[in-house]
Subunit: 365 residues, 2 copies
């Protein structure tokens, strides 16, 4: 189903997934007078604490999914590993965005990278690997160090291994239990960045200023805006996001993770068809955050102004760091805790944003 | 019960009242990883849409109130007409702030004004009225035009009448069905202002920059910060708020409504022992909003930084104006809709905040 008119205040937004992204989407919907119905397999989902209604269920329980869809005026999801079939099932009853096509093009690294390069946008060189033979061939073709990644279900560095020889490529494939993989050229990047942008039902497009991102152990540690991107690079990043969004007929917020090479080249690392950790600073530094922007887009509302009014540094609160919540509460800045009861190493428990006066003119759309 | 230690993330904040203030308090609690349990007589309360748990009940159902209190780690309220006895009952089980003393001193205009003047803080001249005889005497003592107000349960201009003669004073008392009243001198003020401030469990104090307020038909239309107050007046307003908060042993956010006279004098109009409409702009213009500040205070957390990082204009969306939500959504700025299904004339349906660069240095605590 297509959205034929905007979801009016009082309507219900369905959200698949009840983690911190679903929670912040539900909070953003509330701000606009929209109700949230969150669907998640975890009975203790963080987002359940802040929504009008919730359902505990699996993504492949299509009867429960249909009942959920029928209770909503528009449906979205918080993360890209929702089965595309689930989103297609929902779309029979209720407009669901981003659509199944966006999921199909981003859930599989090989499909994703082929799609990106088909648009004339650069990625690291990549090769499909699904056997010992193709692992060796791919390494030979690459001719240098690379990173083996499973094609599906990777995030925060899971399902990845650096490889410096054909033997290591074979061992990596073994460690993935022979799940289909890609071998990517190792990019000795200068730094990482991302672009978070939105496309509306009417084809309108709005991008936030791209932050520079610092990862530790494959998990985002810090995002800084403005980072080191030049105005020309920021424009290029915006064009990349727009090109991808338009090719996908995308509705909602998407993020494109980028490697910035020493020669100034931008390479796309991956596309996240959803709100993104590196955009959490928009909650304070913009009047319309990425979460509200996403809700606006999938509810058929006009997109909001993405221009930032402050410099910002976002810092994740990971695992046991959350124990010091009182220390964070004493620091000047914006503290967000996600309502997760269980602390696990590296788990995203909250984030902290510090604002400062604008030091460079913000990017205007 | 006193708060002996802060309510840790994962704990539950109880909120009496489920209107827009309760809703925005629940949303602020969520940001800090705290759950909200909202208690309200209205089964369609706006705040029910965004909280972890809710109870439909009356404030005088002390058994239900006790169960509610026992489910919470700290309790607060969204408006000052909660019976002080209800708050006292809760405090037997769970820390409840602001306390019953703050309610007793602000629910009755005569008690409130006597309390304020006892602190050496100025109000308009006022006289108690409870009969035709005292109405005539009060008017004679006043010697000029005044405003008759019921002592209890007034808000947004309800229970008020301008009087220009002893006869009109008597008629006003009749129109109140002889509810006890006060006759106040009519203040030909230059403009209105307010100060929103917080006092923490540890006695710390934090005030927001005082806005200038524009009312229409006794309802707040617009708040502007910075308004026309001079730095000296802003300091005086802050001292007034602090004096009142300390005299009440207050914990939480309070607002003091002020008349700014043509000679520069500040007169206190009334005290609101709660978050206040004229402080809604803090959601965007400060990193810690009045709602989060209130939750921090009543949960025993350190107060947050109240310094604003932008100029702001807050505009209420009243009654039928909410029909044009799509028009508001197209304007650059922050739109908040309260999730109220029923539109009534003058009802507060939402608000809209526009930010601008700082034009004056913001007040620092």
């Amino acid at each position: 189903m297509q959205l034929t008119s905007p979801v009016a205040p009082g309507g219900t937004i369905g959200i698949l997934g009840g983690g911190q992204l679903g929670r912040m989407l539900a909070l953003a919907a509330a701000r606009l007078g929209l109700k949230a119905h969150v669907y998640c397999h975890d009975a203790n989902a963080a987002a359940f604490q802040v929504c009008d209604r919730h359902t505990v269920g699996e993504f492949d329980d299509l009867a429960a999914i249909a009942r959920f869809a029928l209770s909503c005026d528009a449906v979205t999801f918080e993360f890209e590993n929702v089965p595309a079939a689930t989103v297609e099932h929902i779309a029979q009853f209720t407009p669901a965005n981003p659509g199944a096509g966006a999921l199909r093009n981003t859930q599989d690294r090989l499909v994703e990278k082929s799609f990106i390069t088909s648009l004339g946008v650069n990625t690291a060189a990549f090769f499909a690997v699904d056997s010992e033979k193709t692992a060796r061939e791919a390494f030979a073709a690459l001719g240098g160090p690379g990173v083996m990644k499973t094609r599906r279900l990777g995030y925060d560095g899971k399902g990845q291994a650096k490889v410096a020889s054909a033997e290591e490529a074979v061992r990596a494939l073994d460690s993935f239990r022979h799940a289909p993989a890609v071998l990517e050229a190792f990019v000795d990047f200068f730094y990482e960045a991302s672009i978070v942008a939105a496309r509306g039902v009417d084809g309108s497009f709005a991008a936030y200023d791209p932050p520079e991102n610092i990862h530790e152990h494959h998990i985002l540690r810090r995002s800084i805006v403005p980072g080191r991107l030049t105005p020309a690079q920021a424009s290029e990043a915006t064009i990349i996001a727009r090109t991808i969004a338009e090719a996908l007929g995308y509705i909602g917020v998407l993020a494109v993770e980028l490697f910035v090479c020493r020669d100034g080249t931008l390479l796309v690392n991956e596309i996240a068809p959803r709100v993104h950790n590196s955009g959490h600073w928009t909650l304070e530094a913009c009047t319309v955050s990425q979460f509200e922007q996403h809700i606006r887009a999938i509810a058929g509302w006009p997109l909001g102004d993405p221009v930032r009014h402050a410099d910002a540094t976002l810092e994740n609160i990971l695992g046991g760091e959350a124990v010091d919540w009182a220390g964070y509460a004493r620091r000047p800045g914006a503290l967000h805790l996600y309502g997760k009861s269980e602390v696990r190493p590296g788990r995203k428990m909250g984030h902290f944003t510090t604002l400062g006066p604008l030091t460079k003119p913000p990017r205007r759309p």
